[in-house]
């Protein structure tokens, strides 16, 4: 565990002293938080896809599944990669269509939020995709329990949604070490200054990515942009200079929509996703908040960029840590 007063990290057999600590312990799914979720039907007709075991079990299930009602369900916010459930639903639509069995599959997204897209402009611009792809939405659904014997989920208002296959995103929580160390909020995320990335409780502890309680998306792009600002702030902290209040919640996400098309969104704490061109204003070649083939190829190119540039600490070409308003239709 972390012992902030002693400036020590206690491991099982030894301890490590520190002057400055960066917490980047991420987030994990905790299906045990919902009654009936991780019961006898876990990985039989109730699946997650945020763990290797869950994703593999779901893949095997989908290969032989004969159809019925498939729920894509979000337990509570925040979750890692908030667009993943939506992307899963889009890809499932394409998958079942390609298998020639789309007619026998009923896809419903069930969310605790008021819409599948929580931001108004995204909802307006993208709602047509749900209609085109015949994906139904059930909103404002705060799950109370899974009735795994009768294959239905029930919310606090006693609404019931039946399923044959439940693909759920369980409650996300920070690492248990954060709870053990007394450094987290009720979901074990570390309270962190949203612009500097210094933790609220300890000035020599910084936090990065999914482990923080920042009101930004828990996404790889966010952690990447944060890292650039964090590096600078740690250098400033060592030099005794004031920290830069620079992080703006910048997130940039591709959303695969199936059939070799994708969406791209670019937003921050205050600017919701809007239409436009990216990364070159007026030119693109990528389009914001609009389905296109070039976005899909952008995503494919990003795989290479990820392994060959990001992992090595090279800047993403043409994309800055803070969001630009250029090329956005605001």
């Amino acid at each position: 565990m972390i012992l902030p007063d002693e400036q020590k990290v206690q491991l099982q057999t030894k301890s490590l002293d520190y002057d400055i600590l960066i917490i980047a312990t991420g987030t994990k799914i905790v299906p045990e938080e919902t009654e009936g979720m991780k019961g006898p039907m876990w990985h039989k007709n109730i699946f997650d896809f945020y763990t290797y075991e869950g994703a593999k079990a779901l893949r095997n299930k989908l290969r032989k599944w004969k159809g019925g009602t498939m729920l894509v369900h979000i337990t509570e916010m925040p979750i890692k990669c908030p667009v993943a459930p939506l992307e899963f639903a889009f890809l499932a639509d394409a998958f079942f269509t390609n298998k020639g069995m789309r007619d026998s599959v009923h896809i419903k997204i069930v969310t605790p939020l008021s819409g599948v897209f929580t931001k108004q402009k995204a909802n307006e611009a993208l709602h047509h995709l749900l209609i085109e792809k015949n994906i139904e939405e059930v909103t404002d659904f705060n799950i109370e329990r899974v009735d795994y014997e009768n294959n239905k989920i029930i919310d606090y208002a006693d609404r019931e949604v039946a399923y044959d296959l439940l693909v759920t995103v369980p409650t996300n929580m920070g690492d248990p070490v954060i709870e053990r160390s007394g450094l987290g909020d009720e979901l074990h995320f570390v309270p962190t200054h949203k612009t500097t990335l210094q933790t609220i409780a300890h000035e020599n502890i910084f936090a990065l990515g999914d482990a923080t309680n920042l009101p930004a998306s828990k996404a790889g792009s966010v952690a990447h942009f944060e890292a650039e600002i964090l590096t600078e702030n740690i250098l400033r902290y060592i030099d005794g200079q004031p920290l830069k209040k620079e992080f703006d919640g910048h997130a940039n996400c591709f959303i695969e929509t199936g059939y070799n098309k994708a969406l791209l969104i670019d937003f921050n704490y205050t600017q919701e996703p809007v239409t436009g061109t990216f990364p070159f204003p007026g030119v693109g070649p990528l389009k914001l908040l609009e389905e296109s083939r070039s976005n899909h190829w952008g995503k494919m190119a990003f795989r290479w960029i990820y392994w060959n540039m990001l992992i090595k600490g090279v800047h993403i070409p043409f994309v800055s840590a803070t969001m630009t308003k250029k090329g956005k239709n605001i």
Partner: protein, 102 residues
């Protein structure tokens, strides 16, 4: 935009959330509640005070928070503010609608 609630002109969003908590008072709360078909009783006020307190501390308002608050259990919360309890309760409490991240 401006709206007249309980004979007072207040600033609010298109959805009807007050944008300046300084303009909130109990009469306004009762009037907003009435528009939502809710008659405020003691339990409602307890929830409203809890939400306002959390909001002042800049803590996120969630169903989980309600569950752990000890103020009220979630089932009762749904009965007090039927259909979207967090959205309705925050509107009545004069604080912003809780946001989700995309």
């Amino acid at each position: 935009m401006k709206k007249v609630i309980a004979n007072t002109t207040v600033e609010c969003t298109e959805e009807g959330y007050l944008t300046d908590f300084g303009q909130w008072n109990k009469d306004i709360a009762r009037a907003i509640a009435k528009e939502q078909g809710i008659e405020l009783g003691d339990d409602h006020w307890k929830v409203i005070e809890y939400l306002q307190e959390k909001h002042q501390k800049e803590e996120a308002l969630t169903i989980r928070g309600i569950k752990k608050s000890g103020v009220i259990d979630v089932k009762t919360f749904y009965k007090l503010f039927p259909g979207g309890p967090l959205k309705k309760a925050t509107m009545i409490a004069g604080i912003p609608k809780p946001k989700g991240c995309i």
